[in-house]
């Protein structure tokens, strides 16, 4: 019915970034259409009722990085934004040992001291150092990065500002930033801590979603990234949105609609229309053409540059950079419906509400990584579990529970196997691991859902199942996300923009790409109409 209707802007993909982008564009007065391939919005941030009363966070399962500006600028509270606190991070070990970090600092100090007395104040020091780092990087995280290669005056100014900002940082903070951007999570954490259990727990943040072990160079930046978020002003804190991340994306959809954006479901875009280097709209899979002078891709860079448009129309170096941009998804999800709370010997279930981190040491993580290096999934995987119904009772019927288990390492490309065959075996591997730590676990299982990297790619469209739409490694961040010279949301095609997690600041439920891209679009339109990227060198 909308075939003849024209829009000011069309956003491709109703993931959280597409929704954020569309909401801002609509708020700025543009007639905006958001096109989503699936029957629901949210992309990798959805909640599905797979069994009556049991709500599964199919993919992403916790929030922290959602940019605070978005909460207020899009008036999300009015639309139901409601982040809940995670009570604990609990890390069990196979010998019956365990450590629990709580929201209460004194309890945490006591608990850490049980394992190592020196780690107690080291933990405070680590928290303080991290907070300073985050504070220093936040302005960079929340603004359009300068283009190193454009040669334009405004980029030169932005670079000068950046240099000034960095020069103004205390030496220790700047040095820590460099250590994290280039080094390993293990090297960084070893300087503070001696307790294996604590280091296993903290270094897990350095491997999430990425094909690295805690001792690999590069895990430092992943660790940093997972500390960049905040909840109620506490940096690095992870919470749970009411109703899961699907609850959050429903809030974003309501906000977008309240600003006037139109959302069309089951509308897959097959092609972005271009004439003379300008975009004119999109073609849907059913052949419908929709027109707009601005088209924004909220998909990952491979789809944005190599699938939706004709790569031959793009500069060769850009195509080459996107071709060698690393996805190599390595994460899966195993979600359970449970008949009751699992029990850890000697503890009752109220003591590990919140996250349960299965990585009793950095060695454990490295061994789990080893198998992935050689093309198979870990026989004893890293698991980041959360019994979400203990935080939000609306997730499951009274007395019953849902448990989300983020599972790592499960490489997208299996050597000598495929995920359609291995799906259930992976589920068994995870369940066996949980049974080892929580005897009787399997008896509680009412239903199990296994989501492999292949399923992530098929269902959400994230290439190779990479949860961040491309790895969060220094060569793919800031100046270089998704490619050198193309880090300002523009593309070589006039009016064609990008706003997915493959753009700055990157993956996770941040909304940052959607927001910053909208700023770029709106300021381009105010100046001279839909723009193309400045000629990128290199």
């Amino acid at each position: 019915m909308t075939a003849s209707r024209t829009y000011d802007a069309i956003v491709i993909g109703g993931g959280h970034n597409g929704l954020v982008n569309g909401a801002y564009l609509a708020k700025s007065g543009l007639r905006t259409l958001i096109l989503e391939r699936r029957h629901l919005v949210g992309g990798a941030a959805i909640t599905e009722e797979l069994m009556p009363g049991f709500h599964f966070t199919t993919f992403s399962y916790a929030v922290s990085l959602l940019r605070p500006d978005i909460i207020h600028e899009l008036d999300l509270v009015k639309h139901g934004y409601f982040p809940l606190l995670m009570p604990h991070s609990f890390a069990p070990a196979d010998d019956g040992g365990h450590i629990t970090l709580s929201k209460d600092r004194n309890l945490t100090i006591q608990e850490i001291s049980r394992h190592s007395r020196r780690d107690a104040d080291a933990y405070d020091q680590y928290g303080h150092d991290m907070a300073q780092i985050v504070q220093a990087l936040k302005p960079l995280f929340d603004s359009v990065p300068p283009n190193l290669f454009s040669g334009q005056a405004e980029d030169a100014l932005a670079l000068a500002d950046l240099a000034k900002h960095l020069k103004g940082l205390p030496q220790r903070v700047l040095h820590n930033i460099v250590r994290l951007l280039t080094g390993s999570a293990a090297d960084f954490l070893d300087d503070y801590f001696e307790g294996e259990l604590l280091k296993g727990l903290l270094s897990s943040s350095g491997i999430i979603g990425t094909k690295v072990g805690p001792r690999s160079q590069g895990s430092g930046v992943v660790l940093l990234f997972h500390n960049m978020g905040e909840q109620d002003g506490v940096f690095g804190n992870w919470g749970f949105h009411k109703g899961g991340n699907g609850g959050l994306t429903q809030v974003l959809a309501r906000a977008a609609q309240a600003y006037g954006a139109e959302i069309k479901l089951e509308a897959a875009v097959s092609q972005v229309l271009t004439t003379n280097g300008r975009t004119t709209g999109v073609v849907l899979a059913d052949g419908t053409e929709l027109h707009a002078p601005v088209v924004v891709s909220a998909l990952d860079p491979r789809r944005t540059f190599l699938e939706l448009v004709e790569p031959r129309e793009l500069p060769e170096d850009l195509v080459e950079n996107i071709q060698r941009y690393k996805f190599q998804g390595t994460s899966s999800k195993v979600n359970f419906a449970l008949d009751g709370l699992p029990e850890f010997p000697g503890l009752d279930g109220t003591q590990f509400r919140g996250f349960t981190n299965i990585a009793p040491s950095m060695d454990y993580l490295e061994r789990a990584f080893d198998e992935a290096k050689y093309g198979w999934y870990s026989s004893k995987p890293y698991l980041d579990c959360c019994i979400q119904s203990t935080i939000d009772p609306d997730m499951a019927p009274a007395g019953k529970h849902v448990m989300s288990c983020f599972t790592h390492y499960t490489p997208y490309k299996l050597k000598g196997g495929d995920w359609d065959t291995e799906r259930d075996n992976l589920g068994d591997t995870v369940q066996r691991r949980l049974e080892e730590l929580f005897p009787g676990f399997s008896k509680l299982v009412l239903r199990r859902e296994v989501v492999t990297p292949l399923d992530i790619e098929r269902t959400v469209g994230l290439s190779e199942g990479n949860i961040f739409a491309g790895e969060l490694m220094s060569p793919q961040l800031y100046f270089f996300r998704p490619a050198p010279g193309w880090n300002q949301y523009r593309t070589p095609i006039h009016g064609y923009y990008q706003c997915g997690s493959g753009t700055h600041p990157g993956g996770c439920v941040t909304g940052g790409p959607g927001r910053l891209a909208s700023q770029q679009i709106v300021s381009d339109l105010a100046r001279s109409g839909p723009a193309a990227g400045a000629a990128a060198g290199g």
Binding site: Q250, A253, Q257
Partner: protein
């Protein structure tokens, strides 16, 4: 020896912090777990159990009970029907507030009045020749509040008559085998109820409610979280947001109902034939426009808040624990135009908020004022917007039926 409430036997073992405070001569838990923010969230997202027994409770009976209350209470009790309750005030002759409380009407000769402070002498001294009996029944009854979105389902499961109670209605019910009175009232600004029980029935009632709540995220909630919730709800607290005129030394310390935001109770004050204490002074205040203040809500400009702290190299504090001493407010010309009485970071609203008094010309929602804070030991101001309280006001608070739980987290698409 400090007294304990009828629910103490059950609640004491649940307090894992060892922290207690004194509330009207009773032990009251500050919090039950180390981090009281979870108690706050329980009320906003599931339900919390709050022991409110230390409130003073006065039974007012007798042939002239209604007439008596119509003459001493600021709000017209005659508009309250049997089975309803009213939030109300009482003032002195000069039109200043003595105190506030909730009055429950059972019939025209039977009421129960609650208050935070003792008031037996004040009311008794005003009976005169009316046929009224006022008894302090504070120790006879316990009250247990169940507050939060799950409260209705849980209590209606125990006695379905509760499910039909309207906002500020009350009625008899049977819980845990005991005859109780349940009111749809509370101090949290959420959907919630208070269960009024004979002290001897406290354990049975408590056990029944706890059993019915199992697996639903319901936990006991202490004073600390309660005092966060009430600020979001815009509910005033004596000795914090106002002071009793009875014990004030200067008129500066005193407040009128209009100034405290209760003009809505007095819509007909100019014409009413009801003679009540303070009426004439209130009429004069309205006629002459002499109100000095208006109670308003404040929403702090969060970006300005963050900017000011960050510029000083400090991580912007976002602490849900209330600040209940005055913080000054200025207008654009930096004239002092008011002060906050209660201030906090609201996790539900994701910003700092306050209950405040401003000069009447700034009371309109949207007016801008500047809040004084100290950052790095220097005074700075942060922009705020005046808003109409309550700042947190979910539809469920007054709605007659709980919206289906699933609708909040539906996985269905936003539009087709």
């Amino acid at each position: 020896m400090i007294r304990t409430t009828p629910f103490h036997e059950r609640l004491a073992p649940l307090n894992r912090t060892g922290l207690w405070q004194h509330w009207s001569g009773h032990l009251a838990a500050v919090k039950y777990q180390m981090d009281d923010k979870f108690e706050y969230f329980a009320v906003r997202n599931a339900a919390g159990i709050i022991d409110t027994s230390p409130l003073y409770k006065y039974r007012i009976t007798g042939h002239d009970a209604e007439a008596f209350l119509a003459g001493v209470l600021t709000r017209d009790i005659r508009a309250c029907r049997d089975g309803q309750a009213q939030y109300t005030l009482w003032c002195d002759d000069s039109g200043h507030i003595v105190e506030d409380g909730v009055v429950f009407r059972f019939s025209n000769d039977h009421f129960l009045l609650t208050s935070a402070e003792p008031n037996l002498a004040w009311f008794s001294d005003r009976i005169g020749r009316q046929r009224v009996l006022i008894e302090d029944v504070s120790a006879q009854y316990g009250s247990l509040a169940l507050q939060g979105p799950r409260s209705r389902g849980i209590l209606a499961g125990l006695d379905d008559s509760v499910g039909g109670l309207g906002f500020f209605h009350h009625g008899p019910a049977k819980i845990g085998g005991a005859a109780v009175n349940v009111s749809r009232t509370g101090y949290t600004g959420d959907l919630g109820y208070e269960v009024w029980v004979e002290a001897d029935d406290a354990n049975a009632v408590f056990d029944a409610i706890v059993d019915a709540s199992a697996g639903q995220g319901v936990i006991p909630v202490g004073m600390s979280a309660l005092l966060m919730l009430r600020i979001e709800a815009g509910l005033v607290l004596i000795d914090v947001d106002f002071h009793s005129s009875r014990f004030a030394y200067t008129d500066e310390e005193r407040t009128t109902p209009i100034e405290l935001g209760f003009g809505w109770m007095l819509k007909d004050v100019a014409t009413t034939d009801r003679a009540f204490i303070g009426r004439d002074a209130i009429r004069r205040e309205l006629a002459d426009g002499t109100s000095r203040w208006r109670m308003v809500g404040l929403k702090v400009d969060w970006q300005d808040w963050d900017r000011r702290y960050r510029a000083e190299g400090i991580i912007p504090p976002k602490d849900e624990h209330p600040i209940v001493w005055e913080m000054m407010l200025y207008d654009d010309d930096m004239e002092r135009v008011g002060y906050t009485t209660s201030f906090m970071y609201s996790p539900a609203l994701q910003r700092h908020i306050a209950m405040a008094r401003v000069r009447p010309h700034l009371a309109r929602p949207g007016s801008r004022v500047h809040l004084e804070v100290t950052i790095n030991h220097r005074y700075q101001t942060v922009a705020c917007e005046v808003a109409r309280p309550p700042l947190f006001n979910p539809a469920r608070k007054t709605a007659s039926a709980t919206p289906a739980i699933a609708s909040a987290i539906t996985s269905a698409g936003a539009s087709a």
